[in-house]
């Protein structure tokens, strides 16, 4: 059995190496850095408590991520009634591509923050962590079909909200370039 000192040393190495990445994911899930910090601490605490059981160091990050994503859902459930997302939308400046892109992302972020946590988790895993549907399913402990349906529902939701805000998603080519006007 591993000694307590060895476990603590391994854990410290893990935290040093991976905490920034966990914080980024936690921020995308929670929408603010303070809650993200708390979520990461909670996920790491559960990971540390399970360290002996996890065994293989290669499995630690997957374990921590799984805790991070599922714990966030629980928190959201307990706290969502206190959440008051802003209804005020940023003004749309005209003509400037950079400004347009900025407003587009700002709106996108607001709408992402309004998604139910399960849908948001799927989007973060698919489009930030670049996980496949099966990897996402495995991490969240759900069926691949559920990932697909949640992802599709979330994207439809975002598209509709952006359309209401006056932003139509244009078709692009395979490299993501918009056709010339």
């Amino acid at each position: 059995m591993e000694s307590k000192t060895k476990i603590e040393a391994d854990f410290r190495d893990f935290v040093t190496a991976r905490s920034a990445a966990l914080h980024r994911s936690a921020y995308l899930l929670t929408g603010n850095w303070a809650t993200a910090e708390d979520l990461v601490q909670t996920a790491l605490t559960k990971t540390y408590l399970a360290w002996r059981r996890i065994g293989d160091i290669g499995s630690v990050e997957a374990y921590a991520r799984r805790v991070l994503y599922t714990t966030n859902v629980s928190w959201w459930r307990r706290m969502w009634r206190n959440e008051h997302p802003t209804e005020q939308m940023p003004e749309r400046p005209g003509g400037d591509d950079h400004a347009d892109a900025h407003v587009e992302r700002d709106l996108m972020w607001r709408f992402v923050c309004k998604l139910p946590p399960k849908q948001r988790a799927v989007l973060v895993l698919r489009f930030y962590e670049d996980m496949s549907e099966s990897e996402t399913a495995s991490l969240l402990g759900i069926a691949a079909g559920t990932v697909k349906s949640q992802c599709s529902r979330a994207l439809a939701n975002l598209r509709n909200q952006l359309a209401v805000a006056g932003i139509e998603m244009q078709a692009t080519d395979r490299r993501g370039r918009r056709p010339a006007a």
Binding site: R53, R66, R77, R78, E104, Q170
Partner: protein
Amino acid sequence: MTRELERVLRATFEDRTQPVPQQSDGLADVVIGRARGVRRRRALAGSASALVLVVLAGLGLVLGKMPFAAPEEKAPSGDNLPIPVIQGLDVAVPNPSDKSGPYLQAGDGTRVPLPKDQKIGDALRLPGGFLAITTKDENGTLAYYPTSGPAKEIANGKALAMALDPTGRQVAVTRAEGGGVRLDVYTLDGTVVSTDQFKDGDVLAGWSGDLVMFQNDIGVTAWNSIDRSRVDSPSEKLMRFLGTTVDWSTYVTYEDPEKTCTAKVFPLEAFRVGEKYCYGEIPATERMVSPEGEWVVARGMNGPDRPDELVRTHLTNDLISPGPGSMANLGIIDVQDWLWEDDDSLIYRTSEGWFRLDLYGSLIEPLPIPQGSSAYPVPRAFVG
């Protein structure tokens, strides 16, 4: 169009996560400190899992099967081996290999002897000791056994059952009396706080806040320990008590037409259903909510021909989001007994022995209780 949407989404995520704010120094130290605090609280033991234990006992009675078999007259062969100290896990040992009489073994190795001529009917770990019901012939005795010092008898009678309240200060005790069921609520020093009478067939199922929950063949009855009033669940929904939530409201499962739902209900409002999730899958014969309401583990959901397989779902996830639930097969079969170790860890027994399952990682670890032994892990009470 979707590709463009995905592109903007990726760019949004990249934008939002740059740069990461300065990390707090000593994060690992903070986390290790928190983990030590959690371990200390776990070691102290406590009450939501008391509910789980009693729910199981209740289900056992309802279904005609007790979760932990009483020790047999002839000790099983596994009882010829000593029970090792299992760090952090409390164990009931009905038939020790040295024939010294039944005892309870705390996770630190401390042995608490039980009356030699009695059998262990039920046991629960709580701060500073154990609550245990021991039986001789038809009579049972409930006593508090501190890990050091003399035992304190609380109650005795026929068909005793117990459930510790969420504060860990009171214990509800039922016994068969006069063709019905008598309920007494005691403090742990044996003082009676309240008494009432129930009909035969009402089975003590646990606590939810100040309510003592009873299960019967048509649903759930909530008995208010403050004013002794009672509320029955609606008869058109066959409700089964699953446990309590983090805010001390109540989880139940019930049958709607063609589906089984797990729901948060409000007993004092005529069992009004709040958040719910209805599973399209085959109803489980038995299910359990984890102490903090994070997970549901069910047995028998894979079909009537596979009654002993475990599935689990992330309940908090299912309750808030429409769409398919997260019920997943754990790949564990032949499950005979089960109990929660904490909110993320389940302990179960198959014909091959006892195991611990980590629900986040689906990690399985065998426990060193000898195969075939009548010894079993004692549930903890999680005091709120």
